[in-house]
């Protein structure tokens, strides 16, 4: 049945070719029948891609080594879960997942976009189809997962053990849902350029898709960061590694897009800018795929290095980025301009947000690609690491974060900065108190640390202030305020939650970076060491036999004040005989929001090499990400984002399912 999967993939390509041409011609000619092809073809393409993906997954589950891809990346002795996640743990499978998600989003647009104007819908689906065709061709020509081996080997060559991890297993699908989700906003933008007009509801349709993609990408980045944190055993959570940057750039641009789309929706302003941003965001997603897949940049995560593929992706990139930007240059002037506004207003604040975010994206972009440029021009090999990003990215982010609480409190069109500042007095007082408490009571050594804590508190209280102000707390009876609070649109809660999550992440970063401590030492059994007031005893090392690895597992005890054992921590070095590889499994004890992190090295004559970290509030980094995701999801559920079609609205009324927006 494996060949059915291969055939289904080819069929999906054929359908994609129809999808990218017929509806587009139909939209030009205003031919209803040709435009009507878009929906069914998109759905059929999705079904066939899903079938193909399911069959590949089945081949992995049943260890069918007559597929070269399965043989190279699987092993019959692997746990079933990792056999299945192994499908996208390699280049070919992950590309199939990419295009599978692309067709999935296409199908969603086809299903939930029934109330879009027909020409727009047809054009959007055609643009989606063209992206799909490019990737189907890429897969079939350079990275076909259905390449067969005959005679089939009887045993596979295992998955890289460092990839055998549940965090990493979930991470790529989430990331791809984010990357590929931006293809919808991209398709909408290109469609608007092709049509030469932006519908009034354009932003209303684009925003939910951007939100969906953004929520997934946020999750993917947070998950990837946590994976690197506990799996690499270096205690770091963000390395400014090219692959991390590749996912961070679309996130920054997507965040900007999310905000500029609000302006466009509410005020019909910033139309052209929003279009451009949507194109850039997806371009950065494609670039992210390119950076990881071509192996152009060395990285701790890169697991594909094949220049011929790189050239193909480069062509895809040039076609879509260059093509869409050229289209933009040609057509943007024909689009109608939007409304005007004062600099001090909600729009003004959002423009400022965009200015900072896009500039930050640009610095990350330069930092990531500069080494490539230098090597191409002069042959020198350089690396741009954390010091560069600390010097450029952070100064750009800090003013933005300071301004965040003001935004939601300013009125549209013409705002009153003073009134907003007055409303934020409480948040400011709280932040100031936090700075002083930190500086004088906890750790006066670093002014930056104290200010960082203040900034985090400012963001969090500021976000809550927005809710309180909108509920009228202080101006009206508490019971009335409560009722108004309950009745607030979900998007308001979404905004507040997302900004709150941002504050939490900042607090986590400040805690882990400024207040974290570490020590490296060699320990003998029963030896006790102390780190930031935590007493840790190294007990012993036990060998443990796992299903496909051998563990050298060190046992540590976190001691209480009386010497009693408060927590047991296991930290191990793992050896995978099939690949002759070692991995580190860090031992982590979570105490409140903080973590004690232990990784072990080899045993020497003077004892076991042990590295300990105390990381206060470190879990908030990822917890904040989850809160941001919750905010985005809540915003997605807002009824405002569900725009009815003129003909259908009267029949279905306001009780449309919430998923309509998705």
């Amino acid at each position: 049945m494996v060949e059915i999967g291969h055939f289904a993939l080819v069929l999906a390509l054929a359908l994609g070719l129809v999808q990218m041409t017929v509806p587009l011609i139909g939209a030009r000619l205003r031919d209803e029948r040709m435009m009507a092809v878009a929906g069914p073809v998109t759905l059929a393409g999705f079904v066939f891609t899903a079938l193909s993906f399911a069959i590949l997954t089945m081949a992995y589950a049943r260890s069918d080594f007559s597929l070269q891809n399965v043989w190279e990346n699987s092993h019959s002795l692997k746990p079933m879960l990792y056999k299945i996640t192994g499908v996208w743990g390699n280049h070919e499978g992950s590309m199939l997942l990419w295009v599978f998600i692309l067709t999935f989003f296409g199908a969603l647009v086809a299903i939930f976009g029934r109330n879009l104007p027909t020409t727009l819908r047809a054009t959007v689906l055609a643009v989606q189809g063209s992206v799909g065709v490019a990737f189907f061709l890429f897969i079939l020509i350079t990275s076909n997962p259905f390449t067969r081996l005959s005679p089939a080997p009887v045993e596979g060559r295992d998955l890289n053990p460092i990839l055998q991890d549940i965090g990493l297993a979930i991470h790529p699908p989430l990331l791809y849902l984010g990357y590929v989700g931006f293809s919808v906003s991209f398709a909408f933008s290109v469609a608007a350029l092709i049509e030469g007009r932006i519908d009034a509801a354009w932003a209303r349709w684009v925003r939910p898709w951007t939100l969906v993609a953004w929520v997934f990408l946020t999750g993917g980045i947070a998950m990837g960061s946590y994976w690197a944190y506990y799996e690499l055993g270096w205690g770091g959570f963000w390395f400014w590694d090219p692959v991390e940057n590749a996912s961070f750039m679309p996130w920054l641009a997507g965040t900007a897009l999310l905000h500029s789309a609000i302006v466009m929706e509410k005020r019909s302003a910033l139309k052209i800018w929003t279009l451009l941003l949507a194109i850039l965001t997806f371009s950065l997603s494609l670039l992210g795929t390119f950076l990881v897949r071509s192996g152009v940049l060395t990285s701790v995560h890169a697991f594909a290095a094949d220049p011929s593929r790189g050239v193909f992706i480069l062509c895809i990139l040039m076609l879509f980025i260059g093509g869409s930007l050229a289209l933009f240059a040609l057509r943007a002037s024909s689009l109608t301009q939007g409304g005007l506004f004062q600099p001090i207003s909600r729009e003004g604040a959002l423009v400022l947000n965009n200015l900072f975010l896009t500039t930050a994206t640009a610095t990350v972009f330069i930092g990531t690609l500069y080494p490539l440029l230098v090597e191409a021009l002069s042959g020198d090999k350089i690396s741009v690491g954390p010091p560069f990003f600390n010097l450029t990215f952070i100064p750009l982010m800090v003013p933005l974060l300071v301004l965040v609480p003001f935004g939601p409190l300013l009125a549209w069109k013409r705002g009153d900065a003073l009134a907003a500042a007055q409303r934020l007095m409480f948040a400011f007082a709280a932040a100031l108190a936090a700075v002083l408490v930190t500086a004088f009571l906890i750790d006066g050594s670093s002014a930056i640390a104290a200010l960082g804590v203040g900034l985090a508190i400012w963001l969090m209280i500021g976000a809550l202030t927005d809710l309180a102000v909108k509920a009228g707390l202080g101006n009206v009876e508490p019971s009335v305020a409560w009722r108004r609070f309950i009745g607030l649109p979900r998007s308001v809660f979404g905004t507040a939650l997302a900004h709150l999550g941002l504050g939490l992440t900042v607090l986590g970063l400040v805690g882990a970076i400024c207040f974290g401590t570490e020590s490296v030492l060699t320990m003998k059994p029963e030896q006790i060491t102390e780190l930031s007031g935590k007493r840790v005893r190294f007990d012993n090392v036990v060998p443990v036999q796992g299903p496909n690895y051998n563990d050298e597992r060190a046992h540590f005890s976190l001691l209480g004040p009386a010497g009693e054992v408060r927590r047991e921590i296991w930290s191990s070095r793992r050896f995978y005989p099939v690949r002759q590889m070692n991995t580190t499994e860090a031992g982590i004890a979570t105490l409140g929001f903080s973590q004690l992190y232990i990784s072990i090295g080899e045993t020497t004559e003077s004892g076991l090499v042990v590295r300990l970290w105390w990381k206060p509030f470190v879990t908030l980094i990822w917890g904040g990400g989850l809160v941001m995701m919750a905010g985005g999801t809540l915003s997605l559920l807002d009824r405002r984002l569900r725009v009815g079609a003129p003909a259908r609205r009267s029949r279905k009324g306001a009780v449309k399912p919430a998923v309509e927006a998705a």
Partner: protein, 377 residues
């Protein structure tokens, strides 16, 4: 067969996804302005809701309402005519092309890429088949999965180790020998097997671990030929050529006729002899090393190659008594007495039957147990 049926059904389904909408009657068009109007109405009602909640001031609401009103006015002014009209013949062809494209493209592309005749082969099914029908690889896989389940089955490892060696999976072989020694205890055979696997895995270099294994084997059985051979080679690699030659000589003389190591020692000796005499374009040190480290079959192939080269050289330059001797020896080592005899005949013919050189060659052949046959005389 089943595959083609399913593929045909899938193609039909895909084609229908294109065909049906094209064949259907077009639904009534709704103009784009109607969509926009709907959005503006929605914005107005949202404005009212926000005003009711007190989220915005009445003056702001009034302004916003006026702005939306202006947009609605602009919209009704901009009602444009809808396109339509006659289609050219070319355009009417598009649906037909689209419907045909799906089966044509998919079958054409699949015909290039696919391998419809290879069935899927899930591992469990393959292992469930009768062992007699299995390939060597499958048998090994079966043994591997057995050993993965019972890693303390020393016998199993011992059986698998030499099989791995023959399959050129040298590190696996070394691991298997290691396990066998750990579980069943050390003996000469296992240790020398481990040594050979390690040597092969290291590409012919005899490192400390391999040497230790051979020494351990000799402790169990001082006459273990394999260990003697490789230890001699280790001496050669260390540059102690005399020691190596001495022990190879000992092996050649003491080992029984059928022992493969006797031949190997003889061959090594011949090469070493060349090496020491630094004679002509013979095989270099590296080649010898590679030859001795190779598996029996590869070694034979490489020697055959060298023999051929030598043969060729002698055709071009037949006045080379030593060369003829070497070629005869080579054929004898390869166990092909007939060929050796032919070469002897050719040598005598080339050198001239009565020359000193020819006599020396005949004497050499005789000392190696080869007599001139009647046909030459």
């Amino acid at each position: 067969m089943l595959f083609w049926v399913i593929a045909a059904v899938l193609t039909l389904g895909a084609s229908l996804a294109v065909l049906l909408p094209l064949a259907a009657r077009p639904k009534s068009e709704s103009s784009d302005t109607a969509h926009d109007l709907e959005v503006y109405r929605d914005q107005l009602s949202e404005l009212d809701r926000d005003l009711d909640r007190g989220l915005i001031q009445p003056s702001e609401a009034e302004q916003a309402r006026a702005e939306i009103g202006r947009r609605i006015l602009r919209l009704s002014a901009a009602r444009q005519e809808q396109a339509g009209g006659e289609r050219s013949f070319g355009l009417r062809l598009i649906p037909v092309i689209a419907v045909l494209a799906v089966p044509l493209v998919s079958w054409a592309v699949y015909a290039r890429l696919g391998s419809p005749d290879i069935p899927s082969q899930p591992l469990s099914e393959r292992l469930a088949r009768n062992p007699a029908d299995s390939t060597v690889d499958e048998l090994v896989a079966r043994a591997e999965s057995h050993l993965a389940a019972n890693p303390s089955d020393g016998r199993g490892w011992e059986v698998l180790a030499p099989i791995y060696m023959r399959m050129q999976r040298f590190s696996d072989s070394a691991r298997a020998y290691d396990n066998a020694i750990r579980l069943l205890g050390s003996n000469a055979d296992r240790q020398s097997g481990l040594g050979e696997a390690l040597v092969n895995a290291a590409g012919g270099r005899i490192a400390g671990d391999a040497r230790a294994a051979f020494l351990a084997a000799l402790e169990h059985d001082p006459s273990d030929a394999r260990s003697q051979f490789f230890l001699a080679m280790a001496s050669a690699q260390d540059g102690r050529m005399e020691d190596a030659v001495a022990s190879w000589k000992r092996m050649r003389d003491s080992l029984p006729e059928g022992s493969p190591w006797r031949g190997a020692a003889g061959q090594a000796l011949a090469q070493a002899g060349l090496e020491m005499a630094e004679r002509g374009p013979g095989p270099g040190q590296e080649e010898v090393e590679a030859a001795t480290a190779m598996s029996e079959q590869d070694r034979a192939e490489m020697i055959a190659g060298m023999v051929e080269r030598l043969d060729e050289r002698l055709r071009e330059n037949p006045q080379d008594g030593e060369g003829w001797k070497q070629l005869i020896r080579s054929h004898l080592v390869l166990g092909d007495a007939n060929k050796a005899r032919d070469v002897l005949a050719r040598a005598v013919e080339a050198l001239g039957a009565d020359t000193e050189q020819a006599k020396a060659v005949i004497a050499f052949a005789a000392s190696n147990g080869l007599k001139m046959t009647e046909q030459v005389q």
